[in-house]
């Protein structure tokens, strides 16, 4: 594995692990983010990450770019990734698949029902797709686009489905929409534009500035890179019940470790 350093203007440095997708690269990215945050290197103002890479916002008055690259490669050399363990979480999320709201949204933008379209595209029935979606688990590889939006992929590559993005992005996507574009899936935290096909909708907020549920006391954003998500199917009545009693809803979250060599289907040895 070759680590690449890319200069992004006068105060950003991008550390890239490769241009193709693998959960191994995502793991490496999150490990390095963690380590960088822990050592509190002088001059680092912020660290953000994407699928295969992370970006360091540094103060060039505090640290020279070359010295920063040195610091990062020192950490790289020390890391023994096979033994690395990340503290992660598994979060269970309820979803109404093929719900009425995203259905009418698709209609608004002259698209056929998205869930049916994605099922056909992957040569399976709707029930089969839902069955597959709820029996897989997903790794959050980065947070982006809008505040708190998690992007995730199925951990077991055999349950990977794909979908083309909208040719012309929607100007509106309902809050809580479960979307898929290419191999990536996401949940829209707020009503926003979007180009992913809409599979369903969750009643659970994942970004809450008002902190109306105790889960948001520490952080207004639910997901973190490295989290594992498991979905379960609910109906419209259950959706509305959760929505009504949201402030007292108990989010189903469990702490767990993420390591490259233990873990869930397909995440072991080779690239996924």
């Amino acid at each position: 594995m070759k680590t690449r350093y890319r200069i992004a203007g006068d105060h950003f440095l991008i550390v890239n692990y490769g241009d193709s997708f693998s959960l191994r690269n995502s793991f490496n990215t999150i490990v390095l983010c963690d380590r960088l945050r822990k050592i509190e290197c002088r001059g680092i103002r912020g660290i953000s990450s994407s699928i295969n890479s992370l970006m360091i916002d540094y103060d060039p008055f505090e640290i020279a770019t070359d010295d920063l690259i040195q610091e990062v490669s020192k950490l790289e050399d020390q890391a023994n990734r096979e033994k690395e363990v990340l503290s992660s979480r598994v979060i269970r999320m309820p979803v109404v698949y093929g719900d009425q709201w995203t259905r009418s949204c698709a209609k608004e933008f002259q698209a056929s029902p998205n869930l049916e379209f994605v099922s056909e595209y992957n040569k399976m029935g709707v029930d089969e797709l839902i069955q597959m979606h709820t029996s897989s688990s997903y790794r959050v590889v980065y947070i982006g686009f809008t505040p708190g939006l998690p992007c995730f992929v199925p951990i077991d590559s055999s349950s990977r489905i794909t979908a083309p993005k909208y040719k012309v992005p929607r100007t509106r996507t309902p809050k809580g929409t479960l979307g898929i574009g290419g191999i990536l899936q996401c949940i829209y935290p707020i009503e926003s534009p979007g180009g992913y096909q809409m599979l369903g909708r969750t009643p659970l907020p994942i970004y809450d500035l008002k902190r109306s549920n105790p889960i948001f006391e520490d952080d207004i954003i639910l997901f973190r890179p490295g989290d594992r998500i498991v979905f379960f199917s609910i109906n419209h009545a259950e959706y509305q019940a959760i929505e009504r009693n949201f402030s007292s809803y108990a989010y189903q979250i469990k702490e767990e470790d993420w390591a490259l060599n233990s873990v869930h289907n397909g995440e072991g040895g080779g690239d996924v």
Binding site: R6, I7, A8, G9, D10, H11, F12, I14, N16, D19, S20, F21, C33, R45, G46, I47, S48, S49, S50, I51, N52, S53, L54, M55, D57, P60, F61, T65, Y142, I143, G144, F145, T146, P147, G148, L149, C151, K165, G182, I183, L184, P189, I190, S192, L209, I221, P225
Partner: protein, 326 residues
């Protein structure tokens, strides 16, 4: 305190932003023309990062509910006090009941209203800046509208003491219709043909109407890409400008489909799946903030060392006492 009489096209509370939350999907926000905001604060003896108002275009009007000292910097939107033209880049004393308004876009497009003590809204994640798409920060996470009443921070300095203080000519900026913006090449530059990289740095680009705090889009010649590996089609997308999602630096120069480069600005998405040819240097985002649809822009390549030298030079202006005339 002051009351908003008319919100205008788009007026938001901004300071120097909240960097470092890209991992949560939150862009830095902050004044698009940070230079002008800082000059305003310098004149008023505020902290350089105190919050002010970013006024885009015409229409904004506010009434002072107490005596205050203000400075207007940035683009010239014909600022008036009680209907009389007032000077920019200079401390103006405002009395209770006075009305400040902006009536015509003369030069640039974003003016900054700074006030002694700074605009006081709750701080969120270390900043008072408004991020409109996230409905967060600033005044209730939105642009200002009629009837809003905003508070001003405490300062021991009275407006009469600072009245007339102005920026030295070197500190004042004037805006025309042609901009030169400096950029460091890099990122996915290697995916473009060499001719296209050269073309990019020698073209007179035209600002399109798609220009806001998220990004500014330009019109010009088509840029082309080198042949690339097959996996990039599968994972990034079929278009040759698609890549696997990457972090986007503020100032990143994204070129969708080889057409219409976009400079991603202060409210730009923290990640995205399009190639970038380089990054605009941090000092020059302020110039982009003042360019309007139809204006011309040249991107000039600078080395990283040069970019750092420019940063140091600009920083030293704010330390230099001779830049302010009492």
């Amino acid at each position: 305190m002051f009351e908003v009489i008319n919100g205008g096209m788009m007026t938001t509370v901004q300071d120097l932003g909240r960097p470092g939350y890209g991992s949560k999907g939150i862009p830095p926000s902050g004044a698009f023309d940070a230079y002008s905001l800082k000059v305003g604060n310098l004149l008023l003896k505020n902290l350089l990062g105190d919050a002010g108002l970013e006024v885009l275009g015409i229409g904004f009007q506010m009434k002072a509910l107490s005596d205050m000292g203000i400075a207007i910097t940035g683009g010239d939107l014909s600022p008036r006090l009680n209907g009389q033209n007032i000077q920019m880049w200079k401390v103006i004393r405002v009395s209770k009941g006075d009305v400040l308004s902006f009536s015509r876009v003369k030069k640039g497009c974003r003016a900054y209203v700074t006030v002694i003590g700074g605009v006081d809204v709750p701080s969120l994640l270390g900043s008072r800046s408004t991020f409109l798409r996230g409905e967060m920060g600033g005044y209730e996470g939105r642009m200002l509208k009629k009837g809003d009443i905003l508070k001003i921070g405490q300062s021991g300095i009275s407006p009469s003491r600072l009245e007339g203080r102005r920026a030295a000519p070197n500190l004042v900026r004037h805006f025309g219709n042609t901009f030169q913006v400096r950029a460091v090449r890099g990122l996915e530059e290697f995916l473009f043909t060499n001719e296209s990289v050269e073309l990019f740095f020698s073209t007179r680009w035209k600002v399109t109407p798609l220009a806001d705090r998220m990004g500014v889009r330009y019109e010009g010649p088509q840029l082309s890409f080198k042949p690339r590996e097959e996996f990039m089609d599968l994972e990034g997308g079929e278009d040759p400008s698609n890549i696997l999602n990457e972090c986007i630096p503020t100032g990143g120069l994204q070129v969708v489909s080889g057409r219409e480069p976009i400079v991603l600005a202060v409210d730009g998405p923290p990640t995205g799946g399009y190639v970038k040819i380089g990054t605009v240097i941090s000092c020059d985002l302020a110039w982009i903030a003042q360019s309007k649809p139809g204006d011309s822009t040249f991107f000039k390549e600078v080395s990283l060392d040069e970019a750092h030298r420019i940063l140091i030079e600009e920083d030293s202006m704010f330390q230099d006492a001779s830049m302010v005339i009492d």
